[in-house]
Symmetry: C4
C-alpha cells in the first residue's frame, strides 16, 4: 500500500478495515464497497437512458446522493486513518476516490455541470482495489511484467502501424477521392485504422476497383501483422530464461544468463 499504517488506536483499526483485507471486518468492508461501486455505476448508466430518466428521475437522484454521501464518508475516513493523508490524497487511487464524489457535489454549485457527471464513472476503476484482496496480484503482475518487457517492441510496432496508416490513408485519399467519402487525409487515415485493425465499420468503404484492390492489400496486411504483437507478448509470457543486463568486466560483452558466474565468451568472473 502507498499509505502507512498508524501505530495504534481507532485510526489503526480503521486502517485495517478500510485498507487491508486480512481481518474478517476488512474482507466484509471490501465486499460491501464493491457492491456499492457496482450499484452506483448502474445508477449512472440508467440515469443516461432518456426513457428511464423520465420515469424514475427522483429515485435515481436519491440513490446517487446516497452513494455520494457514502463515498464521501469513506473518503474522509480514508484520509483520517492513514498516517500521511497527503500521500494518500495524491496517490492514483486517492485521486480516483475524489473524482468519484466531486462531480455530484459540483452540481450543487455549478449549474451547467451536466457533462461533468460522466466523470463519476471513473468509480469503476475503484473496483481494482479488489485486486489487493486476492490471489490476483501475482497474476496481474505477470501480465504487467510481460507488457513491460515488451514495451519497446510494442512501441516500434505501433510506429510502423502509424506510418502504414498515414501512407495508405494518403494513397486512398488520392485514389478514391472526396466523392466516395474519403473527404480528407485524416478521415482517410481513420478509414485505414478501421481497416488495418479489422474493425471494418463500413461507414466509409472503397468504391473503385483500384481502391478495393489497395484495401484488400491493407486487410491482408492487418490480418497478418496482428501476429507481431501477439508473438511479442506471447514470447514475453513464455520466456523461461531472462538475460542479465550485466556486461562482462573483462571482455565487456553482455547477454549472460542471470545465473551465470563466469563470462561465457572469455571465462572472466562476472
Amino acid at each position: 500500500m502507498l499509505t502507512d499504517k498508524p501505530d495504534q488506536g481507532l485510526r489503526r483499526t480503521l486502517h485495517e478495515i478500510i485498507f487491508e483485507a486480512d481481518t474478517r471486518a476488512g474482507r466484509f468492508f471490501d465486499l460491501m464497497l464493491i457492491l456499492a461501486i457496482l450499484m452506483s455505476v448502474l445508477v449512472i448508466l440508467l440515469d443516461s437512458m432518456a426513457e428511464i430518466r423520465r420515469e424514475y428521475s427522483t429515485l435515481l437522484l436519491i440513490l446517487e446522493w446516497g452513494f455520494t454521501l457514502l463515498f464521501t464518508v469513506e473518503y474522509v475516513l480514508r484520509l483520517y486513518s492513514v498516517r500521511r493523508p497527503l500521500v494518500y490524497a495524491r496517490s492514483f487511487f486517492g485521486v480516483v476516490d475524489l473524482l468519484a464524489i466531486l462531480p455530484t457535489w459540483a452540481t450543487l454549485f455549478v449549474p451547467g455541470a451536466h457533462y461533468l457527471t460522466v466523470v463519476r464513472l471513473l468509480r469503476v476503476l475503484r473496483i481494482f482495489r479488489v485486486l489487493k484482496l486476492a490471489q490476483y496480484v501475482s497474476e496481474a503482475q505477470h501480465i504487467m511484467r510481460a507488457l513491460h518487457e515488451s514495451k519497446r517492441k510494442i512501441l516500434v510496432f505501433l510506429m510502423c502501424v502509424l506510418s502504414l496508416v498515414t501512407v495508405f490513408g494518403a494513397l486512398m485519399y488520392v485514389v478514391e477521392g472526396e466523392e466516395h467519402g474519403f473527404t480528407s487525409i485524416p478521415r482517410s487515415m481513420y478509414w485505414a485504422v478501421v481497416t488495418l485493425t479489422t474493425v471494418g465499420y463500413g461507414d466509409i468503404s472503397p468504391r473503385t476497383p483500384l481502391g478495393q484492390g489497395i484495401a484488400s492489400f491493407i486487410m491482408l496486411m492487418g490480418y497478418g501483422i496482428i501476429a507481431v504483437p501477439t508473438g511479442i507478448v506471447t514470447s514475453a509470457l513464455v520466456r523461461p530464461r531472462p538475460v542479465s543486463t550485466q556486461a562482462c568486466p573483462v571482455c565487456g560483452r553482455d547477454g549472460h544468463d542471470v545465473d551465470a558466474v563466469h563470462c561465457k565468451y572469455c571465462g572472466g568472473h562476472l
Copy 2:
C-alpha cells in the same frame, strides 16, 4: 460417467449400450443418437423459417413428434438403466436430456409455449456425449486445463477490458452526443465493445473528427491487447511438461520429466 453401472441383467446390458462405447452395440447406438440429434436440430431450424413452415408444416410436426417420442423413450431407458436415477437426472447431461423433450410435450398443455420450443435447441449440446466415444477426451482436457490454469489471468484481463469499455463508452457519449447515435452510456458502451473487439457493425459509428480520433485509439488498443489473452492461453498450452533439473544418479543424463521416477535412458532410480 456420473452414473453407476448396475451389477447384472437387462439394466446392465442397457447401460453398456446407452452409456458406454466399448461394445459394438454401444458404438452403433452412439452413432444413431448423433444422427437423430443432428436431424432433429435440422427440423427445428427449418421450422423457424417462415416459407418452409408454410409449405411443410405437417411434415415438420410429424418429424418433431417422432424425434420427441424417440428421445423420450431414450430418456426413460437412461433413467431405468442407471443404478441411481436421481443422480443421473440431476447431472448436467440429465437436465439437457430432459430439456430436449419437455418443450414439445409442453405445447400439448400450454397454448402459448411457442418461444419455449427454442429450448429444444439445447439438444445440440447432447452431441458432446460423443466425446466419451473417443480419443477426444484428452484433447478437450488439455484445452480445459490450459483455460483453467489461465482462469485468473483471463479474469484480470476481462476486468481491464470492461473498465476500458466503461470509460471510453462514457467519453464517446460526451464527445459524439445523442445526435450521432450515442444516445445513452450503455449504448456507447455497446459501441465500445463492438469497436474494441474489432467486430465493427457500423450501426453506430463516430461522426466528429475528435470522436473518430478516439475511436482510432480504441481500435489500435483493441488490435494490440488481443495479444494478451492469446499470449496467456498459448503460454499455458506450451508449458505442459516442465523438465526436471535432476540428473540420473546412474548414467548422469538429465532432461527428465518432473514426474519421472526412473531414468528414461538407463532405467536407474532417480
Copy 3:
C-alpha cells in the same frame, strides 16, 4: 511425385521437363507455366467484369481459347510422359488439370455452360505445383504437421464454437425477433457467426438493449476464444519434445519421450 518416371526416351525427357525442376529446361517450363496460369486467371477475372467484357469480348475469347489449347497440349503431354497415366489422371493435380480445361471445351457442346466456366478458376490451384520447385516444401510441411497434430484439438474447438453459435443464435431469435432482422434461427445463427468471428457486417444487428447486452457478451467471448486456436497452433509449432505413442510394456503407462529407452516410471525397457 505421385507419377512414376518412364525409363528412357522422349517420354523420360518430357517427364524431366514437365514434372521435375532439376534441369534448366524443367525450371524454365515451370516458370512459363506459372506465368500462363496467372495470365489465364487474369483473363477469367476480367471476363467477369461487365464493362470490360463489353469492350474486349473478342480479345478475351481469343486469349481464353489460346490458354485452353496450351493447357490441353500440356495435359496430353503429361498423360503421355508418365508411366501410369491413370494414376496421374486420378491424382489431385490430375483432376485439377482436367477441370482447368474442360469448361471451355464444354461451351462448344453445352449452350448454357455459362456458370460452369467459373470452374476454370480452379486453375489457380495449379500454382501449388510451384511448391515442388522449391525450398517451400519443408516450410509447408512444418505448417501441415502442426495443423495435423492439432487436428483433434481444432475439431473439439469447432464443435464448441458451433454449439455456441446454435445456442446464442436461438437466444437472439427469441430476444430480438423477426422485426429486427432475426427472421429465422438459421439467419440468427449466421448473425452469431458474423459476430463471434468478429467479422461484423452490420447487415443484421441487435436493436434492443437486452439484445445488445447479449451481443456484447458474444463479442467478448469471440474476442477471447480466438486465443484458443492460436494457442493450439502456436504450441504445435513451438513444441520441441514430441511425445511417443508407445506405452511401457511393463507398467503400461505412456507419455514417454521419443528418445526414451527405459520407462520413466518403472524403469522397464521400452
Copy 4:
C-alpha cells in the same frame, strides 16, 4: 550508417550533428528534426480538410514553405557532410528526404501538381531515423529477424489465403449473383478478403441462405487460420536462443548457449 564520415573539419562536425546522436548537439538536432517532421505532417493533414483550408489557407501555405525550406537546407547539408553524397542520395532515406521536399517545389513549375503534394506525407517515414537514436535498434532487429526467418512460411500461408479467396470469390459470384452486389469475380474476391480477414464492412453481404452458409464457413475459416501466421511469428520470436547440448568438460554442467566459448559456471573452455 550507409554514409561515411568525413575525416575532419566542418563537414565532420556537421556529420556528427546531423547523422549521429552521440554528442549533445546531435541529440538536440534529432529532437528538433522529429518535432519539425511531426508538425509538417500535421500541416499537410490540416491542409487536406476543406473547412480548415478555407479558413487558414495563407497560414498553412506559409508554414508549408517554411518547413520545405528547412528540409531543403537540411538535405543540402546532408549532401555536403557525407564523404560520398551519391551513396547517400541513392540510399532509402536519401530518396525519402528528397521526396519530402520535391512536391512543394514542383508546385512552382507544374500547375496540376495538386495530388503530387500527398507524396510529402512520406516525410512521416523520416521519423524512423529516430531509431538510430536509441535502444530501439535491437528491438526492431529482433522483430525483423523473426519476420525474416518466417518469410517462407508466411509466403506459403499467403498463397493459400489467395487461393481460398479466388475459389470462394468465384463460388459466391455464382451463388449470390450480380443482383446481390457480387457483380464480378474481382468484386467477389474483394468481398472474400473483407470476410476472411474478419474486417466485414458490410458494403457487400450475402443475401441468400446458401450464400450466408458459405460465408459462415469462410468466416470460421478466417477466424481459425489467423492462428497460423500468429503461430509462425510467435514460434520464431520464442525460439531466439537455442541451448547447446554440450556439457562443460571441466564442471560437467550444461545449458550453455550455442555461441558460448567458456562455461558460464566455472569459466572452463568448452
